[in-house]
Amino acid sequence: MVNFARLGQVPAILLMLAFIAKRLLYGLVVVFGVTVAVFFIFHVLPGNPEDSLGDRPNREEERERLRVAYHLDQPLPVQLALYLNDLSLLSVHDNTPANAQKYAYQPVFGWGSKVLVFKAPYLGRSFRTNVDVRQTIANDLLGTFCLAVSAMILATLLGVSWGLLAALNQGRFWDHTALTLSVVGISAPAFITAIFIQVLLGYYLGEWTRLPLQGSLFERDISGVLQVHPERLVLPALTLAIRPLAIVTQITRNSMIDVLAQDFIRTARAKGSPRRSIILRHALKNAINPVLTTITGWLASLMAGAFFVEYVFSYHGLGYDTIVAVRAQDFPFVMGATITVAVFFVAINLVVDVLYAWIDPRVQLQ
């Protein structure tokens, strides 16, 4: 009865907005934590960013230039503060034309040589390619996004249907088959399945499937026009989908079996509801929450980079470029990629929580 009164007073939409605002604030804390942690981890790792220069001519000069440009000559805490200042939407900079061009900022308030500005987060330029990290990440994200989303759509459609099939035939042939296959799917390591699928479908059966062994979804041709190659998406998406597919199948199955044993299912039967309505309306809507958690959790982590799969299939996405960057000790890119991934995690989790409340009225947004 308490709920009655309280819901009556505050409109649901306001509760929802307050919840979103609060979660965004928490999200900011998470992203900050990740940034600081990765910053220090990167610096305790052996090796030196300057080594990424390799054996370029006038190496010493380049080194010196990098040191100054990236403040590598400063103590770590100062470097961190400067990095965070670059990252922040509101930041303080020397008011010089060079800075104005570098950060593309909107001055808010100036004093002396300093100015408080409003700007987009600045992630620096890659040590390796000297391209603005934001630009590379933006290019990568589209490829990774297409890959992750198509893998998850595949995993969800197949996983939920197989899970339903298994739950409705509990203890019988289809149930055992689905369970056995999903155990295989969960336990097979990604690098094995990636190579297996690549060799089997792309090479031995390549004549028949006509699918390429490697390549990116988006590629600029010689004239600089962006080309889309949808056929290059198939094998990596299939490989990526295997493990989430196995897990979604199991979660759907278990959740459905739980829900089908509940009292309200018996009520629905006693009402005279047809079987189809009992399964799809009464049961599935109740069983879907854990499935949703799994799906979105996987989507987030696939966005974080399907490192192996992208690497094996030479699919240029966030994962591929991050591996290259880590090997090259390309600090700005690694930091930028990590922060992007953290932001994705926060955003997807927020969407999931709102979805929960929408599906299950018992979930209270707090």
Partner: protein, 622 residues
């Protein structure tokens, strides 16, 4: 009676329901017979009460009428002839799933035991009602269905029906949910309404309202009711005729008056005798086993020449006179209290805001003051949510008091250190409600009893502790051979006795019994209550007995505290509270208890006769 057949709505003949197969060590597997050759009839407009304890097969029988026997159960043989207004006379067991679906919820509706779990949490009450309506009236528009749903909700006397239409079940109280269930069951004017323990999960005052509602609706819509309950008191109030089921068989059936006035079967006699009574205080509760015994094959054997020859004798031979009760009470309160509770508060925060401050406070226990005297049983009664369990836990420091003091042996338990409290735990013990979840399934019974002894260094060595545990098992009427068995091998009543043995292992002075018999069947409950009384005398224990069941408390307690909204609203000697309740709430509580006395049955029958159409007068008889 002329034209008897046409008057029958339902006729069940030799119904047998089996469950899976019990694996035996050698030889072919044998299915468990849950319902064994059951035959009964229900006439139009009649209310048939079915009484039995858990496992008697009463719910399964009801579910079989709708073809809803859960797997691995199956109807092995028999017929269920149903006189359908739509299909004519049919055997429900021969119908196809689609034909059955037309009857389910349409002509035969059911109300389940637990309203908390029986409504789908992700649809509003309105959506669920409209679904039921549209399933059986395909031509009904959504607008009409909504209008009808609104009507139904006001018919079951829900306040603000428009609002409830758009409310999800979790926002309603248990009683309100059960009203929605009833509205749903009545939505298509069923000819037969099955009510499977519809009030068991509800508080006694709510139960009273629901029973009244069902009575009124019955007159209004002229439906036959199959009313299943374990509580003879409720059956006495609602039923025209009664079936008594035991171990899958019907052991006795007849008009309600005859059955209560002159029970024939020993099991019925036992059931009637073992209910704690409100009128007189008994020394020992009669139990079913005083009247009957079962042989290895499950056949009932009446005990001849037993302690009590009849229900009446069972009562007249062992009640306590009011002088005895009074003398005992005065002797008790002349002592110095063993526990003194002063102005105790237990508050719980209600969610936290961003800075970790509580948004609101639930005052579970809100300033209570009382004493507990050595050797007494203090009854603590109230409805769910009144704070009685929290108070019980606070006495053991399992819930942490916000303010106030609990003085035990000159120490304030609210202020002592954790180490000191650990020492006191030996003296203050608790027996929980659910004997199924309060024993660790991976620990043998012996281990469960010995473990706390080891911890509190009772007994000099393992051997001595083992012997003590064996003795305790015998004290609670179990056997030494049970020592190395696991909990799943025992029934609910046995487990609760194991829990009692574990509690006694520490030789406590003071035991809190938190709804300790609520999960048990009434015949088992009587045994456990007798055991508790016997142990109290033997070990000079002091009990705080927490229960929602006033008749149980009345039997056991010397003094009673009545709680409402975290406060004690009335306290005093048990007899006084029942005879002269002062507070209005106490009066309501006592009035709501279904008593099942002959006087009540007669009154209920007269009331029904007055309201009923003449056709049914013959059924009630007299």
């Amino acid at each position: 009676m002329p034209n008897e057949r046409a008057d029958h709505l339902l006729e069940v003949n030799n119904l047998t329901i089996e469950f899976g197969s019990q694996r035996s060590a050698n030889g072919p597997s044998k299915p468990v017979v849950a319902v064994d050759q059951v035959s009964f009839k229900i006439s139009k407009g009649e209310t048939l009460g079915v009484v039995g304890e858990s496992g008697s097969g009463k719910s399964i029988t009801a579910l079989s009428l709708l073809g809803l026997v859960p797997a691995p159960g199956r109807v092995a043989s028999g017929e269920i002839l149903y006189n359908s207004p739509m299909l004519g006379e049919v055997d429900l067991l021969q119908l196809t799933e689609n034909e059955l679906r037309v009857l389910r919820g349409g002509e035969i509706a059911i109300i389940f035991q637990d309203p908390m779990t029986s409504l789908n949490p992700v649809f509003t009450c309105g959506e669920q009602l409209v679904e039921a309506l549209q399933l059986h009236n395909p031509r009904m528009t959504s607008g009409d269905a909504k209008k009808r749903a609104l009507e139904l909700l006001s018919k079951v006397k829900l306040p603000r029906p428009e609002q409830i239409l758009n409310t999800y079940p979790h926002a309603l109280s248990g009683g309100q949910k059960q009203r929605v269930m009833i509205a749903m069951a009545l939505s298509c004017n069923p000819s037969l309404l099955i009510a499977d323990e519809p009030t068991t999960a509800l508080d006694v005052t709510v139960q009273h309202c629901i029973i009244q509602l069902l009575q009124e609706l019955r007159e209004e819509i002229d439906t036959a009711i199959l009313f299943i309950s374990h509580d003879l008191g409720i059956i006495a109030e609602v039923a025209d005729r009664v079936l008594v089921m035991y171990n899958g068989k019907i052991v006795e059936q007849g008009p309600v008056w005859d059955l209560f006035a002159n029970p024939q079967h020993p099991y019925t006699k036992g059931l009637l005798a073992c209910r704690p009574r409100l009128d007189v205080k008994l020394k020992v509760l009669p139990t079913v086993s005083d009247f009957m015994d079962a042989d290895a094959g499950g056949e009932v054997i009446e005990i001849v020449g037993n302690k009590f020859r009849s229900v009446g004798e069972a009562i007249t031979k062992n009640y306590q006179t009011s002088a005895e009760v009074k003398a005992r009470y005065e002797k008790l309160i002349a002592q110095t209290p063993i526990v003194t509770v002063r102005d105790l508060h237990v508050h719980f925060p209600l969610g936290h805001n961003f800075f970790g401050r509580p948004k609101g406070i639930v005052k579970a226990v809100d300033g209570v003051t009382f004493d507990i005297y050595p050797g007494e049983t203090l009854g603590l009664v109230g409805e769910s949510g009144c704070g009685k369990s929290t108070l019980g836990r606070a006495l053991l420091q399992l819930a942490h008091p916000t303010a106030g003091s609990i003085i035990f042996h000159d120490y304030d338990l609210c202020k002592v250190s954790t180490q000191q409290m650990r020492r006191f735990r030996r003296d203050i013990q608790i027996i929980f409600q659910d004997p199924y979840s309060s024993l660790n399934p991976r620990m043998t019974i012996g281990e469960a009893i010995v473990e706390p002894m080891r911890f509190h260094q009772i007994g000099h060595n393992e051997r001595e502790r083992r012997d003590m545990a064996m003795q305790l098992l015998e004290t609670v009427n179990l056997s030494q051979v049970h020592f190395s068995r696991y909990p799943h091998e025992f029934s609910g009543g046995q487990r609760q006795r194991i829990c009692i043995a574990r509690t006694l292992a520490l030789q406590p002075k003071f035991i809190v019994c938190d709804e300790s018999v609520s999960a048990l069947d009434v015949s088992v409950q009587a045994q456990v209550l007798n055991l508790l009384n016997r142990l109290k005398e033997k070990y000079q224990l002091t009990y705080v007995f927490i229960s929602h069941d006033l008749s149980v408390v009345k039997f056991l307690a010397d003094r009673i505290l009545v709680m409402q909204n975290g406060q004690i609203i009335e306290s005093g000697a048990a007899e006084d509270i029942y005879e002269n309740p002062v507070h209005e709430y106490t009066r309501t509580l006592i009035r709501s208890i279904p008593k099942g006395s002959m006087e009540d049955i007669r009154r209920a029958m007269l009331r029904r006769k007055k309201l009923q159409p003449p056709r049914r007068k013959a059924l009630v008889g007299g």
